[in-house]
């Protein structure tokens, strides 16, 4: 006796969260059944393995049918085939678009094109995430990227509107899209200590302050509409950043800046002497990063540079985080007292964001 056909269709589509998770994690039906057996469900319910097999198959089939709709979540809301309560719909979408930390760290900042796809195999081996799950996550990134790529307006809002994700997840996706678009390097060994959360935090600050959308109103110049409001960094701003070079190039200005900072921080910093000794190096590092951002290559290396030029020197001198905060605050603020320096607004736009990023990046 073999079962040829075995289906269960409810007027309200039954969604088993546990099975959904197994499916998302890319397990085959056989593996999923084995995992469910191990969870002790048979003992709890008194069911047989055959029942479990049939149930798992059924859920997998349902998920497979739903997957097409999940690719465009608004469709899931308007479709008539599956009657699913809104709370369940939200759960389906949210879980489908959720991703693994380990996976996202591997692809963050990489080009989301087909080229990377063959690397999925390696990622799968490296992270222990099933290839199927890697593919889903990668395709999700790519799909979101494609949809919002050409769109104007707030990145987070666009993502939320077209994929109906929660605020939290939409922000994460904005970061992923932003990183992919600007191709920030995140894979270098010295960046390995950083989590996705660290990068996402920085991305959000940069989107808020360094992109065209950040300027507030849409540019009047029709040509500039070609630029994506939130996705691309404000080119003009990056050009202007060159002006900051004077802070380290002009020796008087640099000395004045240093003395202002040192005066303000004397006695307040545990690592004062180290700071005093390193001030010029640090300042040069930070200002040079700014000045270089006109080149795409240097934009990509932004995080590498920040870690190399600032995080690592401080860390080797064992600055506590609070001292870093004191220093950065004072470092940014003191510029306002430099009479010869005319680019105060530019400096604030740059340093405001950078300070936030550096504080987040500064940990072990």
């Amino acid at each position: 006796m073999t079962s040829e056909l075995d289906i269960f269709v409810g007027n309200t589509t039954l969604i088993d969260e546990d099975v959904y998770r197994l499916w998302l994690d890319g397990y085959s039906v056989t593996d999923a059944v084995a995992l469910r057996v191990r969870s002790g469900i048979l003992e709890q319910t008194g069911a047989t393995a055959a029942v479990l097999q049939s149930d798992t198959m059924d859920h997998y089939r349902t998920f497979h049918m739903l997957e097409r709709l999940l690719h465009a979540p608004p469709k899931l809301l308007h479709q008539l085939i599956f009657q699913i309560p809104p709370s369940r719909q939200a759960l389906l979408i949210e879980r489908y678009y959720a991703f693994d930390e380990a996976f996202v760290r591997e692809v963050l900042g990489k080009k989301l094109s087909k080229g990377t796809k063959k690397d999925l195999d390696d990622i799968s081996t490296k992270t222990g995430i099933t290839l199927k799950s890697c593919r889903r996550q990668f395709d999700n990134f790519k799909r979101v990227f494609k949809v919002v790529e050409e769109m104007r307006g707030s990145l987070v809002d666009n993502i939320q509107q077209h994929f109906l994700l929660s605020d939290r997840l939409a922000r994460d996706y904005a970061a992923i899209v932003f990183f992919a678009n600007n191709r920030f390097e995140t894979g270098k060994k010295k960046l390995q200590y950083l989590s996705f959360g660290d990068f996402a935090f920085c991305a959000e600050l940069m989107i808020q302050n360094w992109t065209l959308g950040a300027v507030g109103e849409a540019p009047i110049d029709p040509d500039s509409q070609m630029d994506d409001m939130d996705m691309d960094l404000d080119k003009e701003f990056l050009q202007d950043l060159k002006e900051l070079k004077v802070l380290v190039a002009d020796k008087d200005l640099l000395d004045l800046h240093k003395s202002l900072v040192c005066t303000a921080l004397r006695g307040k910093l545990g690592v004062f002497s180290e700071m005093e000794a390193n001030f010029k190096n640090l300042s040069r590092g930070l200002v040079n990063v700014a000045a270089k951002l006109t080149h795409n290559k240097d934009v990509r290396d932004l995080f590498v540079d920040l870690v190399e030029k600032f995080v690592e020197p401080c860390r080797s001198d064992h600055w506590p985080l609070s001292d870093v905060r004191f220093f950065l605050n004072q470092y940014s603020a003191s510029v306002h007292s430099l009479d010869g320096f005319r680019h105060q607004a530019l400096w604030d736009r740059y340093m405001g964001t950078l300070r936030g990023c550096l504080l987040r990046l500064y940990h072990d």
Binding site: L5, I7, F8, V9, G46, H64, L80, P85
Partner: protein, 1054 residues
């Protein structure tokens, strides 16, 4: 020209990409009704076209309005080649034709293609202007309401129940026409869908005409079926019960949408004027299952030229002075009817006087080919589908089918007579076809109906009469209708355990729902008998004879199994019994489902005793006693499980058992191959007679084993195949309707009956287990209206289809009610989980011998209903004291909302997400449509019936593997069918389908060719329901807008 149909095509969405180059579609729409077609403009390059068309107007006869479906085709415009069809929508406009139902059909309909399934949606608005038609000779029957529900619909009152109506129409099946060889599968499927739509329309119109002739205005319990006879054609037949219904004016005045149809009916007399008939006749197996342990002699008679099944039962005498009067009265009322049949399964109290038992008849027929050369020639023309035209040149054909059914019905009627009954209730008909052999089956419950209800009379008169004689409603229906001295079969009678005056059988089988006023002890459970019999492959007459010969044995075995299982559960009555015999190439399958209960009025069932034939063998003896112990343990366990603890009654009160007409009866067991196996049925064990199973061979051993293999549902689960579960009465609002299909392939090697039985048994048991597992998150819950259908699509395939609804209930309240069984049994299913208190309307009729305070009751009823207390609760209280208390409370509280709603959050079902918005998905535009096979929705009140839903779909694929194999294909198709039903209901303005049934699910596959085809036919009643909790809010918020509240104020001041 009495009608104008107006259609507007608004927009489309989610259309498929038809042009690969642009990834877009240039869609336009054709709207067709009869022979008239309109087109919209082409909406270029969009998957979400906005046509926003003008109103397309069709001026048509109302006859056409009834028969024809509105056909909407969405196409992709192609400049250079033929336009490609995207898909179609058929809209049945019947609901617009009667005034109380829907006024407009408007909404998103899935665009359906028989090859690709659903491909996007289209927004359509349909209206009908009907002109008054004064022509008395009209052919249409607009205005007659149809209900699938097999009880009086909740917001209506039955003024008169006229009786049985039936009709059938026959046509050639387009799939078998020569043209089918040259047309595409899509064209063929569409021709079939359209033809069946037309045929159902015509059938409904013809039935409507009959109802008008009988001066009725509605058909209740309407059941329409298709017989796909293959080469010999397509039969669409329908039966129903004609009624005159009155809409209840005040929505507050009627009772719970839950299952006590009875109470509100008390003022509605059911008067039966002469009714209408039908035809014919044939053979019966169990003509009564009333606890007669099988005494029908199954003489195999082959009466007519065509092969009809087995022997008829006994011709019983009308008898006994005891019932003479009653009979005389009813006789006159029912005599004029050719067939005093009722398709209803639930009745107003007092309607049903006695129940005799199950009557059924089967007959085996050979289908002969229709030869009809003229038909194909006019195929291209729409009108040619018209059955009138067709019938005119092939008029003998429907007559043949009519005659077949007439025979069967005659048989049923005579069986009922043999049981001393003059009517048949819970009546249904079915067929099973394999190649050219067709088994026609009919079954019902022989009953005696209240003569007063069967005569013309005024409302007052009837009410009074009822009060006078309302002596023993709770047990009355159990009392034997036949004369005990001249019984049609030997049965074991005792005095009724309830009233001690009348006699009752020891076991009662019926096809109806449990009467609401019946006293039940404990809970009920689903009982199934399953049976397979191998049969040699044969042709034509030889085949039919072989089947005819097997049938009686199968009937007998099924009956024995049911009886054994019933005893094993410690119960004494079956309700909702449905025996399905399915014929296949090389086997016959029998599946009987019913809900077992313990009726307080019937005697405690005896146990099952096992007797061995070879008592000398020691180990054998030991084995027997071991088995006996197991059986006894199971019975004890079941009694505990189902809470069956009837009060002990001493022998003296009951009196001595009535002497048996025969002391013993021996019966041949049903194996055709080995007639020497004998089971002895001992009927002489006195009151506590045990059912003796004699074991003398492996076969019998099998039977005993199979008895014990049925696993009870896991704790927290109950199941039944009736509307509600006896003993559970606190339903919460979460429901989940589902369909599950399984097909197994038997290994063809040396199949034996035992192996076959085991396979079939496992299939059913595993299916149930799977259901319990899948629905575990709803615990505590009950599977209601569990409906199994078996078919044998191919030689080695068995297909089982189950449709049921899982309903959650409140465990705490269930526990409370278990305190006293009598009290508990008085309580009805109540549909909410709100605070205590409501007042028991049925108290008056239930626990008191006569109606003491009818006026008070009236008064209270309005008081409680007007004060915003959901009527559903009213039947919760079970004592007079509570009633008084309640009355006080009610009056004290006046119109203030008195109930606390504790709506449970629903983890799975669609309980209450209507008002919930879960961001960010809150902007869902798709309204929830509930579906249920029951006639009510727990926790809600049905406020309007919008019309019947009757849909037929075909789905075919030539890429079976790509669509996920057979499971993927059928899963998607059933989901699509649900979606289309919901869309139609939503477009009618409804939010639920009740009495939903999947009447047919024919699945055929050809994996080698990567092909599969499936036909599904579903029906139900589209309704609008209002949650009782919402109802209160409305009434308390807008006191002036509904009379309910304004009455309340009056009530309170008094």
């Amino acid at each position: 020209m009495p009608g104008k149909l107006k259609v507007k095509i608004v927009a489309g969405r989610h259309l498929p990409v038809m042009d690969r180059a642009s990834d877009l579609t240039d869609a336009f729409v054709e709207v067709k009704f009869g022979n008239t077609t309109f087109k919209t403009d082409v909406y270029l390059k969009s998957l979400n076209p906005q046509w926003n068309s003008e109103w397309f107007k069709f001026e048509v006869d109302d006859e056409d309005l009834q028969d024809e479906p509105l056909q909407i085709t969405v196409l992709d415009h192609d400049t250079y080649s033929a336009n490609d069809a995207i898909g179609k929508v058929y809209i049945d406009i019947d609901p617009l034709l009667y005034s109380e139902a829907a006024t407009v059909i408007s909404g998103w309909f899935p665009i359906y293609d028989t090859i690709h399934g659903i491909r996007g949606e289209i927004n359509v608005v349909v209206k009908v202007d009907l002109f008054n038609d004064l022509n008395r000779f009209r052919q249409s029957s607009c205005g007659v309401k149809f209900f699938c529900t097999t009880s009086i619909p909740k917001c209506y009152r039955a003024v008169i129940i006229h009786g049985f109506v039936e009709e059938l129409v026959v046509n050639e099946d387009p799939e078998y026409q020569w043209i089918d060889r040259i047309r595409t599968p899509r064209a063929s499927n569409e021709a079939r869908q359209r033809l069946i739509s037309l045929m159902s329309g015509e059938l409904q119109r013809k039935i409507g005409l009959k109802v008008l002739e009988m001066r009725g205005n509605a058909v209740v319990g309407y059941l329409q079926c298709f017989d796909l006879e293959g080469e010999s054609g397509l039969v669409v037949r329908a039966i129903g019960t004609a009624c005159t219904l009155d809409k209840l004016s005040s929505p507050a005045a009627f009772l719970p949408a839950c299952n006590s149809p009875s109470k509100e009916m008390k003022e509605s007399p059911l008067v039966h004027p002469p009714s209408h008939g039908c035809r014919s006749t044939h053979n019966s197996p169990i003509h009564t299952a009333t606890g007669s342990r099988l005494t029908q002699n199954f003489s195999v008679s082959v009466p007519t030229l065509i092969y009809t099944g087995m022997g008829s039962g006994s011709a019983g005498k009308e008898g006994g002075p005891f019932k003479a009067l009653l009979r005389q009265q009813t006789q006159s009322a029912l005599e004029q009817r050719e067939f005093p049949f009722f398709t209803l399964t639930a009745f107003p109290p007092g309607f049903l006087v006695h129940v005799g038992g199950v009557v059924s008849a089967r007959s085996v027929k050979l289908l002969d080919r229709i030869h009809n050369p003229a038909f194909v020639g006019i195929m291209g023309n729409t009108r040619s589908y018209k059955l009138l035209d067709w019938n005119s040149f092939n008029s003998d054909e429907p007559e043949t089918r009519d005659a077949w059914w007439a025979e069967i019905r005659q048989e049923i009627k005579s069986h009922a007579k043999a049981l001393g009954c003059h009517a048949v209730v819970g009546y249904s008909e079915s067929t099973s076809i394999c190649e050219e052999v067709c088994i026609l089956s009919a079954s019902g419950t022989a009953a005696v109906l209240n003569p007063r209800f069967l005569q013309d009379g005024t409302v007052e008169g009837c009410l009074e009469q009822r009060l006078e004689e309302n002596v023993s409603t709770r047990c009355g229906f159990c009392h034997i209708p036949y004369d005990e001295l001249n019984m049609p079969f030997p049965a074991h009678l005792t005095y009724c355990y309830n009233c001690r005056k009348q006699k009752v059988p020891d076991v009662l089988f019926t096809t109806i729902d449990l009467p609401t006023d019946a006293t039940v002890i404990g809970k009920g459970c689903l009982i199934q008998a399953r049976l397979c019999r191998l049969k040699k492959k044969a042709q034509a007459e030889a085949n039919a004879t072989a089947i005819s010969n097997l049938l009686p044995f199968m009937e007998y075995e099924v009956h024995t199994q049911l009886m054994n299982k019933l005893k094993l559960k410690g119960m004494n009555a079956l309700f909702g019994l449905r025996i399905q015999i399915t014929v296949g190439e090389n086997m016959l399958m029998g599946l009987a489902s019913a809900t077992g209960v313990y009726l307080a009025a019937l005697p405690t069932p005896g146990g099952i005793q096992i007797a061995g034939k070879t008592p000398n063998d020691g180990s054998y003896e030991q084995h027997i006693s071991h088995m006996q112990k197991k059986i006894n343990d199971t019975i004890a366990k079941n009694k505990e499980l189902y809470e069956i603890n009837p009060p002990e009654i001493s022998e003296e009160i009951i009196g001595s058992p009535i002497p048996e007409p025969r002391q013993r009866s021996r019966l041949l067991r049903s194996q055709s191959e080995s007639s020497d196996e004998v089971t002895e049925l001992d009927l002489s064990h006195g009151k506590k007679d045990a059912f003796v199973l004699e074991i003398d061979d492996t076969d019998a051993m099998e039977d005993v084993h199979s008895l014990l293999t049925d696993v009870p549902p896991p704790s927290g689960f109950y199941s039944c195949n009736t509307e509600i579960m006896p003993g559970i009465n606190n339903w919460t609002s979460e429901i989940q309707m589902f369909t599950s299909v399984r097909v197994i392939r038997l290994s063809s090697l040396n199949l034996t009956n035992q192996a076959l039985n085991k396979n079939f048994n496992d299939l059913c048991e595993n299916l149930l287990k799977s259901l319990y597992f899948k629905l575990r998150s709803m615990i505590p819950c009950c599977l209601c209206h569990v409906n199994f259908t078996v078919s044998l699509p191919e030689d080695e395939l068995i297909q089982v289809t189950v449709t049921a609804v899982a309903i959650t209930f409140d465990k705490n309240q269930a526990l409370q009610t278990t305190k006293t069984p009598v009290e508990k049994s008085l309580q009805r299913a109540s549909t909410d989980n709100e605070e205590l208190l409501q007042f028991p309307l049925e108290l008056c009729s239930d626990s008191l011998p006569s109606h003491p305070f009818p006026p008070v009751k009236e008064h209270l009823e309005s008081a409680s209903s007007n004060s915003g207390i959901p009527a559903a609760q009213r039947d919760r209280c079970s004592s007079w004291i509570e009633l008084i208390k309640l009355k006080a409370q009610t009056i004290r509280r006046g119109s203030i909302k008195t109930t606390v709603t504790v709506e449970k959050a629903s983890p799975v079902g669609d309980g209450n997400f209507r008002n919930r918005s879960a961001p960010p998905c809150a902007n869902s535009t798709v309204g929830v449509v509930k579906m249920t096979p029951l006639s009510f929705i727990p926790g809600a009140k049905i406020t309007k019936y919008l019309g019947i839903i009757n849909m037929f779909f075909i789905r075919e694929t030539t890429s079976l593997r790509e669509e996920g194999g057979v499971s993927g294909f059928l899963h998607a198709f059933i989901a699509e069918v649900f979606a289309m039903v919901r869309a139609h209901v939503a477009a009618l303005g409804g939010n639920a389908v009740v009495s939903y049934i999947m009447k047919q699910c024919v699945f055929m596959e050809n994996p080698n060719k990567n092909q599969a085809q499936c036909l599904i036919n579903v029906s139900g009643d589209a309704v609008v329901f209002v949650r009782e909790s919402d109802l209160e809010v409305v009434s308390s918020q807008q006191p002036t807008t509904n009379c309910q509240s304004s009455c309340t104020e009056g009530e309170v001041t008094t």
